[in-house]
Subunit: 439 residues, 2 copies
């Protein structure tokens, strides 16, 4: 039996999990699949974790020792970031090695370059772990759902923000307070920017939309708005109107282009995504044939992410061990779909105004909204405790984002409006299924 030789670069949370899973399953894989996985070389900044894992003998601090090792079949890249990850991919391909990676930041921006390069070297990139941790959504889009035109990919793809929003909703706390606690408990990083400002979710939806719609969606194409401005008041008001607020990543393949965005979103409190709590992830994939599907699980964490990495490794190893050729990475992007401007979005909105407590403010603000083509479905007015300002909530009928932006400026120009405190999109979830066949 030919062994399948692995090199691993990055021995952090996920890397440690991968080594442990491969060690644990080694004999089982030999017995059940005839696959003898061998970790030949492991690279990290220092050897502390390699010692912990009992692999100090194959440790190096130089990643080129891994990518250039002629005995290695598969390189696992788990360092994240763009550099030297890009060079690790390139050098691995040049040496005829397949790459398994969890690097959403890199793949969300540079999958075109990397996939073309892999194709030209006859090797594959596998990136299940880059999209929703342990949940097999990349595999579903690449293989299982290939009988479908994919209409929508949407869901909760960032565990940190879902953890924060869940605690804000359950405990009535503010964003800053929960963030600080999440950092203390390890649910949020010391620098939480990539999570709370939406970049992490944007990278993931860019990867999934590129695969699902077979078109170029770059992270930089994704409209991105984080959760810093979501307040306890907004969450409570949403609850009163029958909604929950979640940070959703949404990609829709529409006739006017790819509608792709990450932002706090109001969804009906009875919707399945509303009950996804804590750090869990859930991804809806709607195909024209299969209809609505949902995939739920842990989007991060050592062993869940390692589970996805090992699944990718085994799919390559199955061929290598049995002497079967691997089909190279295909050319990416069969389509070249336009990306829709966020200004063209049409949906319902929640608008929270802080207004002076005086006569005529309702008349003034509703006049502005009407002038800007915005029709109102619900109004809620509450006095603040100091009796000096009121909170005025408008829920709109479907309106254009560009009109909402104009109305925001027009409202802010009114003397009676102290602030446009919050504008949150209400998602039209029924539209996710548009284009599915009747069954």
């Amino acid at each position: 039996m030919r062994s399948v030789n692995i090199g691993i670069i990055g021995l952090g949370t996920v890397g440690g999990g991968v080594v442990r899973l491969i060690q644990r399953h080694h004999d089982d894989y030999v017995e059940h699949y005839g696959i003898d996985l061998q970790i030949k070389r492991a690279c990290s900044r220092n050897d502390a974790e390699a010692k912990n894992l009992g692999i100090a003998d194959i440790f190096t601090t130089n990643w080129q020792d891994v990518t250039s090792d002629p005995t290695i079949d598969i390189v696992i890249e788990l360092i994240g970031g763009e550099h030297p990850a890009t060079e690790i991919f390139e050098d691995s391909f040049a040496h005829g090695k397949h790459v398994v990676s969890a690097n959403k930041a890199l793949l969300g921006r540079h999958v075109e370059h990397l996939a073309k390069l892999a194709n030209s070297h006859g090797v594959q990139i596998k990136c299940e772990a880059a999209a929703a941790g342990g949940i097999p959504v990349v595999s579903a889009l690449e293989h299982d759902l290939v009988g479908n035109e994919i209409l929508t990919i949407a869901g909760i793809m960032n565990g940190t923000t879902n953890y924060i929003l869940s605690r804000m909703a359950n405990e009535g706390l503010g964003f800053d307070e929960v963030l600080a606690d999440a950092q203390r408990l390890g649910y949020a990083e010391a620098d939480p920017t990539a999570d709370v400002d939406g970049f992490d979710a944007a990278s993931k939806i860019a990867i999934l939309a590129s695969i699902g719609f077979r078109t170029r969606v770059n992270t930089d194409d994704v409209f991105m708005q984080g959760i810093r401005n979501v307040s306890a008041t907004d969450i409570e008001m949403a609850r009163q109107f029958g909604y929950a607020i979640k940070l959703l990543a949404i990609a829709r393949n529409t006739e006017s282009g790819v509608d792709v965005r990450v932002h706090p979103t109001m969804i009906p409190a009875t919707h399945q995504l509303a009950s996804v709590s804590g750090a869990m992830n859930a991804v809806f994939i709607v195909g024209d044939a299969v209809g609505e599907t949902m995939f739920y699980g842990a989007g991060a964490g050592s062993f869940p992410t390692a589970s996805a990495v090992v699944g990718d490794v085994m799919s390559l190893a199955d061929h290598i061990a049995h002497g079967k050729e691997i089909i190279p990475e295909s050319e990416p992007f069969g389509h070249n779909l336009a990306i829709r401007d966020i200004a063209d979005l049409e949906t319902r909105y929640y608008i929270r105004l802080t207004v002076a407590d005086k006569l005529g403010v309702l008349a003034e603000t509703t006049k502005v909204l009407a002038n800007d083509n915005i029709s109102i479905s619900d109004i809620n007015q509450t006095k603040s405790e100091d009796n000096e300002a009121c909170t005025l909530i408008y829920m709109t009928h479907a309106a254009k984002e560009s009109d909402i932006e104009k109305a925001r400026a027009d409202l802010e120009a009114l003397d009676s409006v102290k602030a446009v405190s919050s504008v949150i999109r209400i998602e039209n979830i029924e539209a996710w299924n548009e284009g599915a066949f009747d069954n």
Copy 2:
């Protein structure tokens, strides 16, 4: 480019969907994957559907015209049942053809024989459509989650019964009434036995447990109890106690063997499975590394099931079109785990008694339960409208199934007990995660 040639046997609801999807995607598959799928031969009892689909020219009523056609690479078997489906598999293998099938009845009972035969002929069986319609759970177990030891597979795997239970819960109707309406609307078959008595779900959980635990689980190994005895009263009482009643298929890989069963189950009303309504399916898969995952979607229907069939066809076609060898079906069942007797189940129970409205009935019945080692957590007593009989509900602490069966007989022997009207298991869902790593 070499075309990949398909023969299809069975042009019913699913077969028609498969032909339509392949016709629709043909050019797309050529362009994006370099795969030219050609339907070479189609078999059915009569040519009505073939004419509808525009494939009357390749129609036959003789399945051997398909299995023996030397130009055909892949046979799609969609006739269901054990015969002649078994012979179709066998003859296809003998002619070197791979088989894609949605036949849960056959695979739930005979996967061992068929997988060995496929292996010896160097071909594959693909059966994504046999387990949960369009939801890719077979693929997840076979490939994506291979870095895990699978601990639990459990969920709603039969759309007909979930539709019936959902309507009973929402409308307060009885089983017979909803069944008749479901038959009228096409949600239940004229002979609903396989669905409502649990056989369909038992076949699916047998297939999934065999793959997930890599052991032999036959449909006949599955403890099976349908929903005919679930009454509107039980559903209403469950609601009052904070539960929903669902027909669950459950397979747990425990230290004392495989616990595998299909029965009406009380689950907390807040659990995700409780909100799966209508004909939808949802499958929890718990792995030691990935933790809890859930896969949700349509478990039946023409296009959802066809989506799974086409996914399987394309995974084979990808290799055939590119001249790469396909790894043959592996020998099934690495393990040989014992099947746990239902008598050894320990869980909580809901017991509904119809009792005479007289003094001492509480004392008598609680004494029987205590004698049979059954400890009570909650009691609810309501008088019937005619004032002649009472409904007495006991919710138990964890008890042994064998003790419950003894208690049922002992209770029925009491003069004051008119009937043990209902006994429903309350699932310990926390136990599904037992054995998962901490993250």
